[in-house]
Amino acid sequence: MKTTYDVIVIGSGPGGLAAAIAAKKGGADDVLVLERDIELGGILLQCIHNGFGVEIFKEDLPGPSYAQRFVDEAKAIGVEYLLDTMVLDVTPDRRIFVTSSRGGLVELHARAIIMAMGCRERTRAQIRLPGPRPVGVYTAGTAQRWVNVEGYMPGKRFVILGSGDIGMIMARRLTFEGAKVESVLEVMPYLTGLSRNYVQCLLDFDIPLHLSHTVKRIIGKHRVEAVESVAVDERWQPIPGTEEIIPCDTLLLSVGLIPENELSLKAGVTLDPVTGGPYVDDGFQTNVPGIYAAGNVVHVYDLVDWVTQAGLVAGKQAAQQITGHASRRQPKVAPHHVPTQAGDNVRYVVPHTVNPETLTEDTVMLQMRVTQPLEQPVRIEVRDGEAVITHKNERYARPGEMVNVTLRGRDYDAVRAAEKLTVHVVAR
């Protein structure tokens, strides 16, 4: 069995597949994708709803169809893969220990590694949800797997906590399956998922959304019997007297996603406490040379198309490292990385640094999430101090929807001269 590869990609979701394809096309000879499930495609395979590919293909595809395009391409160009294979460990010198029933325990080595493990769902413990531990409390993604992949219904009467996208999509899916979704509760005063999902998954099915509401406690010994909901004030504190018992047999949690970086930590990768993902440069390289990260493992995206884009950048960059073709963009001076910074109403900016030389042949998309919703026309500004380097207008800005602004060749001089690139999202 071959154990040495140019590029090894951990995870075959949209980020991983795109990275593998870009690495292979970029000139890496041996590219291997490691996937723990029995098929390539990652979580897309359980996302049987549409809404994928609008940016990249200008088509509205279901998740498995979107994934299949990349699976087909990866196979066609000779990307290798191992299925039903779990990565146990990754070392800073790019050794990877994997295990599977078929192949046993194997040590692999790569010249470049692309971390594409995606994210995991926040659990009831992470939001410290009070109550006993009956059956019937699941993350929305676990329920989604049961319904869409395994073909089973986990309940008849649901309450969904959190207005994340998976939760809203599951509300519609469960309704299609004949279940009753009593309500969606959101602790924030605004939607945390995409507005289009609110319209298409809740409004169209008369499923009530209660903003500034949460679950005060779960009720039930063996199985969930009800939840007690409560309204909260602006500091998320329950408002006495607003409690309501909602009978149900299942509580789904759609309360946020956390980039899955336990392997990155083992490899010595440093994480940004705000995103939960690695600090990355504009080629998605981490602080560990030769280790890249792409997709939700870096920060949680709202659209799969952007995950694919990130994978393409990371894969291309890894290939350039392997082939030594990075020299096409000869630095005019010693490598100089300009840090990015979150400014007004911005929670974080990815990537964390920009190499101005990248702009001589490519664009760099700065991606961010806003802190507060602005339901009015906004301007996204990249500034060096007070000087605006570039800007972009949007109709609104919401925490549930990622915001981006692109640096281009014309910004080269300004970026090169900048000490810091601070991004602000402000009302126009």
Partner: protein, 511 residues
């Protein structure tokens, strides 16, 4: 009619140690037939399943009490138990940590109690404590160090001992709820506590009525934990004894983010040993418990208030902890009783009960089995044997008793070479089902077919530590349900979290 010599009620750590210890014996002319009943679908689901997992040194138990006696004796038995039953146990030592000068004085009485009971303790300086645990509160002024204290995995210890009991002939019946006693026909109509008590001063218990039918036994052992008061009252014993569940809530921290390497108690309060910050055998730091008296013996719920309280308590010891690193919350119920200690110099009414009551025949009664019952359980079991011998039971050590319970492979504990060898032997050990805790299909299947088969998700969780990590089973749950259905030969719809009424799935989706 099913006739046994001994029927044990309850499969927590106390019932388990009694079952295992009694499995060592025969009678002169025959086997010692033991039936062991448990109302839940698995062993180790009550107080034993949710506590601080500490093997206490015994310095703080009331001198002269059964608690002190069995704690100290029990503590000394854990090394041998761990070796025979092949479960993990570490004599890490424990600390009672004084923060600020004013708490320092609280260490002396503990030290004196330890000295009185022969428990080794040592008062160390704040600087020494900081050196041993750098994350300790900067105002630490000193600590009481007890080198014989340690940590265990109560699930692993109980399950190993229970398996050993079953391997040695004890008959375990799960899903079997005690309902009432069966009395000797001569006194059957004349229950103690009723008016005719005087004519029949010593009624005899001859069996139990259960949800699964009647079982007869010459001795019934009450190891019912939280429900021990209800069982003894049905026997007409100690009507004034009352168990008040004292709920304790806990946080489990992500071991990738929090590395506390010690067992850290605060100076004790009146009601408990206080909110501790402790390492566990799995490397996760555990924070808790508070102590809230409640009415419902099944209400192991975490509460907003309780979680606030344990967090404040924990920060008193280790201020650097972050709530972001909490990966699990749980609550346990301590079966605290009100039994007076008759041999204590100072009045004390929270002692263990370990007795053959004067007023009933055929009944071994235990109660009030709160902390340190986990530590004390092996000594409590020896005490029960002595009581039975004292009552005339001629127990003879079996020649073919096997004290060894072979451990099953734990993939994550093996080195790479051993892992590879295990997979070569059985490829199912190559397939990881729980990614956070690295639990393989091979381990899950082995538990489903173990001497005490794991037939529910929670039973597998208790045995393999699967689903306890940062994703709380979100990843493994559908996969484990599949494996359970396949191995048990049932539909996935029949697979449950913790027995009847807790099935995960209700129907198939529309075609």
């Amino acid at each position: 009619m099913q006739q046994y010599d001994i029927i044990i009620i309850g499969a927590g750590i106390v019932g388990t140690m009694i079952a295992r210890t009694l499995s060592r014996y025969d009678l002169v002319a025959s086997n010692l037939d033991i039936l062991w009943i448990e109302k839940e679908s698995d062993i180790c689901t009550g107080a034993t399943a949710a506590n601080s997992a500490i093997v206490h040194g015994g310095y703080d138990a009331m001198p002269g009490s059964l608690k002190a006696e069995t704690n100290i004796a029990g503590n000394a038995m854990w090394d041998q138990l761990a070796a025979e039953l092949q479960f993990p146990f570490a004599r890490t030592g424990t600390y009672v940590v004084a923060i600020g000068a004013e708490e320092l004085a609280a260490l002396d009485p503990l030290k004196r109690r330890g000295d009185a009971g022969g428990v080794p303790t040592e008062i160390i300086s704040g600087a020494a404590m900081r050196e041993r645990e750098p994350s300790i509160h900067p105002e630490v002024s000193g600590a009481l160090y007890c080198p014989t204290g340690g940590i265990c995995d109560p699930w692993a210890a109980t399950i190993a001992a229970a398996e050993n009991a079953v391997m040695n002939g004890v008959e375990l019946r799960l899903n079997t709820t005690f309902e009432d006693f069966i009395w000797d026909s001569e006194s059957a109509n004349e229950r103690i506590g009723e008016s005719s008590k005087i004519q029949n001063p010593k009624p005899r218990i001859v069996g139990v009525r259960t949800s699964q039918g009647d079982f007869y036994g010459r001795w019934i052992v009450n190891a019912a934990g939280l429900f021990a008061d209800e069982v003894m009252h049905k026997a007409g014993v100690r009507p004034e004894f009352h168990i008040t569940p004292r709920r304790g809530e806990y946080y489990v921290m992500d071991r990738a983010r929090v590395q506390i390497n010690n067992v850290l108690f605060p100076v004790p309060s009146k009601v408990s040993k206080g909110i501790l910050v402790t390492t566990t055998l799995h490397g996760n730091t555990l924070v808790g418990p508070n102590a809230e008296e409640i009415d419902d013996k099944t209400d192991a719920a975490v509460t907003a208030e309780g979680m606030r309280e344990i967090w404040e308590g924990a920060q008193k010891l280790v201020p650097g902890l972050s709530q972001r690193d909490v990966i699990a919350t749980f609550a346990g119920l301590r079966p605290g009783g009100n039994a007076p200690c008759l041999t204590c110099a100072t009045p004390y009414n929270k002692d263990f009960i370990i007795e053959i009551p004067e007023n009933v025949m055929g009944f071994v009664n235990l109660g009030g089995m709160e902390s340190p019952a986990l530590t004390a359980a092996p000594a409590i079991a020896e005490h029960v044997v002595a009581l039975l011998q004292g009552a005339g039971e001629d127990l003879r050590a079996k020649t073919d008793w096997n004290p060894i319970r072979p451990a099953r492979p734990v993939f994550r504990h093996l080195d790479r070479e051993a892992q590879a060898a295990l997979i070569a032997q059985d490829p199912r050990y190559g397939r990881v089902i729980c990614r956070c805790e690295t639990v393989t299909e091979g381990e899950i299947v082995a538990e489903i077919h173990a001497p005490i088969p794991a037939t529910t998700y929670d039973a597998i969780k208790r045995r393999t530590w699967l689903g306890t990590g940062r994703c709380l089973g979100g990843f493994d749950m559908p996969r484990v349900v599949d494996i359970l259905a396949r191995e048990l030969g049932v539909s996935a719809l029949e697979v449950s979290k913790k027995g009847n009424g807790s099935e995960f799935l209700i129907r198939e989706t529309k075609a």
